[in-house]
């Protein structure tokens, strides 16, 4: 069995274990009831999304700085995974918000900036498709990836300054009972592993498609020694 399959199976097993903790180990929240269980995966996938986008930025900078094809490929893979986790975050957040806030959506800082994040990196994926393959796609996407990452804290800040209702961080205030805290940290670790495995598999796919004979990257790499 190849190692990607093993890694994928391990990630799925970990996520199932996390689900078991969420449903059978963590106590039911006194105020919110069972809906609160959404929190574990919701926050974990938000963190996984942010980490993925941070990886996009690192890869993009590496590409712009030294034309590192590996950097670009890492960025490409992480962007897709980041968009997937952002989608999960948004959808789960809305499912939680309806019973608790009485509405699926409110325009507070976190929600707005997460939505903006989703839009920007969906745009990133589109730029990759629409630009001329090779250098142009890589450069343009890298610029979008970096601008998007800078923009999100700015949007967050400007909306906070304006108005916000999202519950603040609860971890640091010791408000979480130990079982909940453990479940949360475990779920987060599992989700990060899942994200890492997804990025790795995606990287492999990108590497294989770059290795197609007509790919611009192969030819560029071949050019290196002569120039």
């Amino acid at each position: 069995m190849n190692r990607y399959l093993v890694a994928a199976a391990a990630a799925v097993a970990l996520m199932l274990a996390a689900a078991a903790f969420i449903f059978f180990f963590a106590p039911t929240d006194a105020l919110q009831g069972p809906v609160q269980r959404i929190f574990y995966l919701h926050v974990s996938s938000a963190i996984a999304a942010f980490v993925s986008f941070a990886v996009v930025v690192v890869g993009s900078v590496a590409y712009l700085w030294r034309e590192s094809i590996v950097g670009d490929r890492v960025a490409r893979s992480a962007a897709l995974v980041g968009v997937v986790f952002t989608t999960v975050t948004l959808v789960m957040g809305m499912m939680w918000a309806k019973p608790i806030w009485g509405t699926f959506w409110t325009w507070d800082a976190r929600l707005t900036s997460t939505l903006v994040l989703w839009i920007i990196y969906a745009g990133y994926l589109l730029v990759r498709r629409l630009a001329a393959p090779g250098r142009q796609a890589a450069r343009f996407a890298a610029v979008v990836g970096i601008f998007g990452f800078v923009d999100v804290p700015v949007v967050y800040f400007s909306v906070t300054w304006w108005r916000t209702v999202h519950p603040g961080p609860v971890i640091s205030t010791d408000a979480l009972p130990p079982e909940m805290l453990f479940t949360f940290l475990f779920t987060m670790a599992c989700t990060l592993v899942l994200a890492a495995v997804m990025i790795a598999i995606r990287y492999r796919i990108e590497a294989l498609s770059d290795a197609q004979p007509q790919s611009q990257f192969v030819l560029q790499a071949a050019q290196r020694p002569t120039s």
Binding site: Q214, L219, Q220, T226
Partner: protein, 214 residues
């Protein structure tokens, strides 16, 4: 030192090969005519030589400078006439040239001289949009030489020029290294020192000295 040293230039558009393993050596002061059918890769080759495009693969050195790494220094020494004239329709002929003087950091005093050389003095104050296609072509040639480049890359310079094309072109080609693409065998014979024949992205009979041919 050769003016152009190109080795194994290859370019793909998607999965379509436009150029495959083109080798080209051009000596200083040489005038090379690139001949070939439509779609043979002439424009792609010229665009690559003008640094308007990077080849998918292959090494390119122009006037001792690496075309990948020292693009900006190279561009200051190359004059490129592209397929489309790329003029600003609302600006006059003189203003078009003056604008490119500003971009290149060249003295605007060169404008009248460049217009004169291309026989455009009469229409200097007409807008580019009002000029005939032939006059637009002359203006584009004037712009390609406004910074007195050492190397001229001309893509079908005779397009829409009348009978005086050879005379006009030989004026700007003097004392310069020139690579030009054309369909016109006679023009290639008259202006080129030698020809390069492209077919489907490959060089066919390169290096034949033209004075032998005619």
């Amino acid at each position: 030192m050769s003016a152009i040293l190109a080795a194994g230039i290859t370019h793909w558009f998607g999965s379509e090969p436009a150029l495959e393993g083109v080798d080209l050596v051009v000596e200083r002061g040489d005038h090379v005519a690139v001949l070939g059918d439509n779609g043979a890769g002439k424009t792609t080759l010229l665009r690559i030589l003008a640094t308007a495009m990077q080849p998918s693969a292959g090494g390119l050195e122009i006037m001792g400078l690496n075309a990948r790494r020292e693009k900006r220094r190279l561009r200051a020494r190359i004059g490129y006439l592209s397929h489309a004239p790329g003029l600003y329709p609302a600006l006059t002929a003189a203003e078009n040239l003056a604008f490119f003087c500003d971009l290149r950091g060249v003295d605007r005093a060169r404008v009248p001289e460049a217009l004169e050389l291309m026989g455009l003095t009469q229409v200097a104050r007409r807008r580019a949009a009002e000029l005939s296609r032939g006059l637009q072509q002359r203006l584009a040639i004037a712009r390609a030489t406004i910074h007195d480049p050492l190397l001229l890359i001309l893509d079908e310079p005779d397009a829409s020029l009348d009978a005086e094309a050879p005379e006009l072109l030989s004026r700007v080609m003097q004392k310069r290294t020139v690579v030009f693409a054309t369909h016109d065998q006679a023009l290639a014979a008259r202006l080129g020192h030698r020809t390069v024949q492209l077919r489907k992205g490959h060089v066919m009979g390169a290096g034949s000295r033209l004075h032998v041919v005619h």
